[in-house]
Subunit: 122 residues, 2 copies
DNA sequence: TCCTCATTTCAACGATTGATGAGATATTGA
DNA sequence: TCAATATCTCATCAATCGTTGAAATGAGGA
């Protein structure tokens, strides 16, 4: 199910900024355990204030989520949000045009290790 | 092959604006024949000046392309650019994480009419 | 050539964005 | 309770963005 347009606009806006794109990458790589806000900031070379600003932006956009752990706030990638954005891009924005979706399907199959998941041939 | 990061940032920025997102939709629906600049502007309710501004932005981002036809300039969706962006999102940004790619693969399979294209089981 | 249509370019403006540093808030441990 | 740590919030400021209307460009038809 594709995400709502408003949320998709926010998500695109969130990913259109270099610092935030790097943050998403770092958090995706970190996996479900996530990283503390400070660690994310350090990973992308942002001040604590700037890191907080951008992480809040990403959270508002539904691309990451946070939880408190002791003194730290741990951020982690929101996989639903990310895959929802991919789905939006293919379905809603690109209207399911085979010219867009077919190459995307090939990419998906190639990049997410077909062995992990059956092809889901609908 | 994923697009370059700089271009992806531009593309995300281009899609983060309502008028431009609607323009892309209109052009994807219009298909390879495209629409004249004026028609795109009318479709999304933008002045000629504003339409020109946003179409130029989309073209810079590699999401649409233009050609002249008589007095009109015809814009059309750049399917390579769009599918490249989907690929970037899955591969580069999301690092090929199955949590992101698997749902995306299902979406791709479901939305682009599997009958049109073999599953490309790589 | 002159006129008209379609589009782009330009300058001005208000609104939004991102960076910075200071200060506030929340949690832990002594 | 007090001090230390981790993070967030706030105010400020420069830069970028999007809109508007007027003027410039470019192509086609009389």
């Amino acid at each position: 199910m594709p995400m709502e347009e408003k949320q998709a606009l926010d998500a695109f806006g969130a990913l259109s900024q270099e610092t935030r794109l790097q943050m998403v990458r770092a958090l995706v790589i970190a996996g479900p355990d996530g990283l503390a806000a400070g660690a994310v900031g350090e990973a992308v070379g942002a001040s604590s204030s700037s890191a907080s600003f951008h992480l809040a932006h990403l959270e508002r956009a539904g691309l990451v989520q946070s939880r408190r752990a002791a003194r730290s706030i741990i951020y982690s990638a929101n996989y639903d949000g990310l895959s929802g954005l991919v789905a939006f891009l293919m379905q809603d924005c690109c209207q399911g045009r085979p010219e867009v979706c077919a190459p995307a399907a090939i990419t998906a199959a190639a990049c997410c290790t077909p062995a992990t998941k059956e092809p889901a041939h609908v």
